[in-house]
């Protein structure tokens, strides 16, 4: 099966979502969603990071540059960080970063931070369903695209 066929079968627009998930909570939450067979769109591709605080804003811009339509960062609930305080820093960094993207006129719905614990498989699936739907409504990411990467 080649990629071409797959593309032809999928005529409706599907967004590309990159999800950075903390190893200790959200990644396990995603696993739990899997264990419970809670469906969410295949548009979501998860990247495992040790902690949400490992996510450099550069990675987010990189994802948009390369064609992502939405980027979501999932971490432990505030106060429950495996490393005690990582997600508190994530929260500040991403608040400022997302506010800046918004300031530059980039749709604020394309970025999101969610706290999902290892026990919240259902929340993980619901979050991803909601985020995919939101981003799908926005359509293709045009404002932070790099045309070179789309050839």
């Amino acid at each position: 099966m080649s990629m071409k066929n797959i593309e032809n079968n999928n005529e409706t627009y599907r967004p590309l979502i990159v999800a950075f998930c903390c190893n200790w909570c959200s990644y396990a939450g995603a696993d739990l969603a899997g264990n419970n067979r809670l469906a969410y769109p295949a548009d979501v591709k998860i990247i495992r990071v040790p902690c949400s605080c490992r996510v450099n804003p550069t990675f987010i811009l990189r994802a948009f540059q390369r064609g992502a339509d939405g980027v979501i960062i999932c971490g432990c609930h505030p106060g429950d960080c495996h490393y005690t305080s990582g997600n508190y820093y994530t929260r500040r960094r991403m608040s400022l970063m997302f506010s800046m993207l918004d300031y530059l006129g980039i749709e604020r719905e394309r970025t999101r931070v969610e706290w999902v614990s290892a026990a919240e498989g259902a929340k993980f699936a619901a979050t991803m369903n909601d985020f995919c739907e939101t981003v799908a409504k926005l359509g293709k990411n045009k404002r932070l695209e790099d045309l070179r990467c789309k050839q």
Binding site: L61, Y88, R91, R92, S95, F98, Y103, L104
Partner: protein
């Protein structure tokens, strides 16, 4: 007009050179035109008498030079305006130089003139005369034009955040106060626009960027041994922006890297050859930080903990924060 004169500064420098407090002076050297002044070192009174200037075009922030200057032997005298002293403290907080190797003379500042605005007044500038409230531009071909001095101030001086020196060994003249001059007004104006308008605004501004790196190289917060944008191993290095994404990437990441550390000195906008209002990116971060986490002025105190290396359990969530930055607008 500046409250202190060239003579006062030369006398002070001569005194400090004479009594051995310092062995060199970092100051401004006169050039070809009235606005043409270059940061330079002086070691004698004679050299200062010949070339030292101080006036309305001495806007450059000297703090960053101290990083390299203090690696040399001996002690350097530097004249710092109120806004420069914030950068000075921030650099000290980040261990960028040895305080003992600098002698700071704080000097008052009544706002520096914007060369770009002066040049817009008349073509072919012969000289510029400051009469206090008004400035007279002598043109080579068009005679004299007199304008309000206030209109000739760059945005950073119009929105001056402080006339107070936060660091000095010695002060010349009266110290001022921290002032509120609506420096977030422009940011608020942008916040009130629709996302499409904001996107169009920044697309237009940033599209002029030529990636000359002047904003970065002049920035007192950008003192990295090697910038990520110069480092092929960083994965984001690029010499010249090949498209608009890279310009955005550069300016967003640069603003993020200095967020919480930027003292709002405005040098980035001063040096931009394309007049991109880069300070509006930094001010957005400052405004957000103040609104989300409480007022914070980088450089106000040595050793203070920057907002991005700090947190509280009750910080707003990112979605809430983005929302809030609009409601307040």
């Amino acid at each position: 007009m500046q409250a202190v004169t060239r003579e006062i500064l030369i006398n002070k420098a001569a005194e400090l050179l004479g009594n051995g407090t310092v062995d060199r002076v970092f100051g401004w050297k006169k050039g070809e035109f009235s606005y043409d002044v270059t940061p330079a070192l002086f070691t004698t009174r004679e050299a200062m008498d010949a070339d030292f200037v101080f006036g309305d075009f001495c806007g450059a922030n000297f703090s960053k030079y101290l990083v390299a200057e203090t690696r040399k032997e001996g002690k350097v005298l530097v004249f710092l305006k109120p806004c420069d002293t914030y950068s000075f403290n921030q650099l000290l907080t980040e261990h960028r130089f040895d305080r003992e190797k600098v002698y700071v003379v704080g000097i008052p500042c009544s706002g520096m003139l914007d060369t770009v605005k002066i040049k817009a007044v008349a073509e072919g500038i012969a000289s510029v005369e400051d009469n206090g409230d008004r400035v007279t531009v002598h043109s080579l071909f068009d005679g004299d034009v007199t304008v309000s001095r206030n209109d000739m101030l760059p945005d950073r001086c119009k929105n001056c955040k402080s006339k107070k020196h936060v660091a000095y060994d010695e002060l010349i003249g009266e110290d001022g106060e921290v002032i509120d001059s609506g420096r977030f007004d422009e940011v608020e104006k942008l916040e009130k626009m629709t996302p499409d308008e904001r996107f169009a605004f920044w697309q237009n501004e940033l599209s002029r960027c030529i990636r000359c790196n002047a904003c970065r190289d002049v920035c007192p917060a950008c003192t990295c041994e090697k910038c990520v944008f110069d480092n092929p191993d960083s994965g984001v290095e690029n010499k010249a922006a090949a498209n608009s994404f890279e310009e955005k990437m550069f300016h967003i990441i640069r603003a993020f890297h200095v967020a919480g550390r930027c003292t709002d000195c405005g040098e980035c906008s001063r040096v931009c050859p394309q007049h991109i209002p880069l300070h509006l990116l930094n001010r957005k971060f400052i405004k957000d930080i103040n609104e989300f986490y409480g007022d914070y002025q980088a450089g106000a105190e040595v050793g203070s903990r920057a907002p991005l290396v700090n947190y509280t359990a009750d910080d707003p969530e990112p979605a809430e924060a983005v929302e809030r930055s609009h409601h307040d607008a």
